[in-house]
Amino acid sequence: MNNNEIQNMTYREAIRLGMIEEMQRDDNVIFMGEDIGVYGGAFGLSQGMLEEFGEERILDTPISEAAIVGTAVGAATTGLRPICEIMFMDFVTFAMDALVNQGAKMRYMFGGQTQVPMVLRLPAGSGTGAAAQHSQSLEAWLCHVPGLKVVTPSTPAQAKGLIKAAIRDNNPVCFIEHKLLYSTEGEVPLDEDFIVEIEKTMTERPGKDVTIVTYGTLLPKAMEAAAFLAEEGIEVEILNPITLYPMDMKPIVDSVIKTGRVIVAHEAAKTGGLGGEIVARIAESEAFDYLNAPMIRLAGLDVPIPYNKELEAAVIPQKSDFIRAVYRLLDHE
């Protein structure tokens, strides 16, 4: 059924809509997690879903991430398509064995005889005052495991398109959602066939002077900085790799060739973060010869996320950090 309507909705509603559509489309899709049924989800994301799909498909689980993901991997190999909600991404640590040693490996170890079509929904990021154990961005760990796909939408439309693509994908997909983005609004196509392909990098803003590669919660900050810099005549191009693994590098490389200057930014800690990987890939690419300045990584400081609001903001790159970095690249400092 095609529906050309576009509706304004929040990021949270977009993910929920995407899941509901897929559950209606395919009876094999089940949804499991802590407090997702009766309570409606820790972030209110699955409200009403239990009533619509029943206890057979909306499974309230015990407080054990290992159990959730372990069950999901097993269910996926039998032909179901489970969606798991890990209440906070931080707790994916409990599920790592099932995910890394089982889910990611099965398709390879059994020579393609089995598939693991599952989705892990992982609310990540800081900014809510939830402190060190509930604020982390651990995407780099997941990207390091071959066999897992990692996606992270930044707008409601991307969220709906990507969650649908993730559910339809036959491999384990880690769907990282950002808690601070839940309430952001945007236009979302109501078309049930609207999906956003995995392995795609979006150009969020065209420009010619500096390239900023960023995703998640830093995207809005980068957009604000770009708007500020535009008033000074500096045109910043912003790219959003909504699939972190496998990443679509071509738009990034092309953009760096165009601008010769690049900032890679994320909220996760700098050391071992994905920014290093992106920068390294740029350095390995033909874009190297076009660099007009050293590449800059803007990332979280190498400390646990503090509880205090001021300190929390100090740890994460802000709009002013983007502006300063752009000035630095243009030798304006």
Binding site: G260, F288, D289, Y290, L291, N292, A293, P294, D331
Partner: protein
């Protein structure tokens, strides 16, 4: 035949000079001092893009002053060096550039006297080394390393390497055979000439079944022996061009940042005339005459290490300002490198020895072109002008034409059109 010839010059001494750096001596000194005092700076701090641009233009990056943080060389620094290259730098410029009429040697009004080589910032990378490295790349070295008079590879080899690659399959005989069958070829005059519309239409002529590949050293001899060359000379009254140029030069300079020269007027007139007379603008290749509907203008330039012919593409489609701009930029890029990397194949060549006081001369046709225009000096002479004896600025141009491709009348009409345009130069601006 998309190959361009680089003809060897009489003097084959390889120069020890280095490539362009565009540095003032004092800044160079500063730089050295700075490098010596700053530990670890034996290596140059430069961005990858700056290194790429410098490499592309054969500029030694060590000689550039960096303006970035901690003396880092940025792409802007390389660009400014490129822009700082004065257009007249370095070579014996066969076209009149940056030259007021008064400065042309031999002119009675010349205050400056004879040709003064201008002080140059530009130095050239040893051309031989450059070419040797290219030869290595192409893996053709054994074939070529005996070419120069004392066994060196000469700059002119470059063209033949490219031609060799293109004509490898067609090359059937050696030079000896080639000479033997020559008379037959001279008799064979191409009958039909079509003008290509979208793609070149090739007219096969069985009688002209030869290949144009020759080894470089024989290139000029071959061209000289083989072409049925005839020469046509005419005199052009340059007084109006001179007046017009004075009027428009400041404006054009303002617009393009390039000097407008007599050559630009000539290129404009020649391009227009070539379109009217496509026989002159044709190539003889593998026994086929290809008449071109576009003009890729070759501009012969004498450099210390040989004659090279940079090409300005599609001059027929350009207006005057574009000609000025393209001519200046092409020459500038040639100055900054010792050979042309881009090699689209000229359709006609203009050569000028006016600035070294040559009144008229006839050049050897630059194969695969069918004709070459030799331009002499602009001089003041007493002429009858509208019935009155007057001092006029005049210039002689000679067209060398391959008679197999076009006859004298066609050549004469071509020159007539050039002359008429040059003597009414205002029309060239539209």
């Amino acid at each position: 035949m998309a190959a361009e010839i680089i003809l060897p010059q009489l003097e084959l001494e390889a120069t020890e000079e280095k490539m362009a750096d565009g540095l003032k001596p004092e800044s160079m000194e500063e730089l050295r001092t700075k490098r010596e005092t700053d530990e670890g700076l034996e290596k140059v701090r430069a961005t990858p893009s700056a290194r790429r641009l410098a490499k592309q233009h054969h500029i030694i990056i060590e000689n550039i002053v960096g303006t970035g943080p901690r003396g880092r060389i940025r792409i802007e620094d390389v660009q400014s060096v490129l822009e700082a290259q004065p257009i007249t730098t370095g070579s014996l410029e066969p076209v009149v550039i940056h030259t007021e009429l008064e400065e042309i040697p031999g002119n009675p009004e010349n205050y400056l006297g004879g040709h003064k080589p201008k002080e140059s910032f530009a130095k050239r990378v040893p051309a031989i080394a450059k070419i040797m490295s290219m030869v290595d790349d192409l893996d053709l070295k054994p074939r070529l390393d005996t070419r120069g008079p004392d066994g060196r590879v000469v700059p002119g080899e470059l063209g033949s390497i490219k031609r060799f690659k293109e004509n490898e399959d067609n090359f059937t005989g050696d030079y000896g055979e080639y000479v033997k069958v020559l008379p037959k070829r001279v008799e064979a005059v191409a009958e039909v000439i079509n003008i290509e519309q979208t793609s070149p239409e090739i007219i096969p002529n069985p009688a002209l079944n030869f290949v144009t590949f020759v080894e470089e050293a024989e290139q000029m001899v071959k061209s000289h022996l083989e072409n049925a060359v005839m020469t046509l000379t005419t005199e052009i009254d340059m007084t109006e061009v001179k007046d017009l140029r004075k009027k428009i030069a400041p404006k054009i300079e303002d617009q393009t940042k390039c000097r407008c020269t007599f050559t630009d007027f000539l290129l404009m007139a020649v391009s227009r005339s070539l379109i009217k007379h496509p026989e002159i603008n044709s190539s003889l290749s593998n026994g086929k005459i290809i008449a071109h509907s576009y003009v890729h203008m070759g501009l012969a330039m004498g450099m210390e290490d040989g004659l090279i012919i940079p090409i300005i593409k599609n001059t027929q489609a350009m207006n005057f300002v574009e000609i000025v701009k393209n001519r200046a930029e092409t020459l500038k890029s040639v100055k900054n490198s010792c050979f042309i990397e881009e090699d689209p194949g000229s359709t006609f060549t203009v050569t000028n020895l006016g600035m070294v006081g040559i009144l008229e001369f006839t050049a050897i046709i630059n194969e695969p072109n069918s004709a070459i225009l030799s331009v002499g000096e602009v001089v003041s002479r007493m002429r009858l002008y509208q019935g009155e004896p007057m001092m006029r600025s005049v210039m002689k141009i000679s067209l060398n034409l391959d008679h197999r491709v076009a006859d004298g009348l066609t050549g004469a009409r071509f020159l007539q059109d050039v002359k008429s345009d040059m003597e009414n130069p205002s029309l060239l601006l539209f």
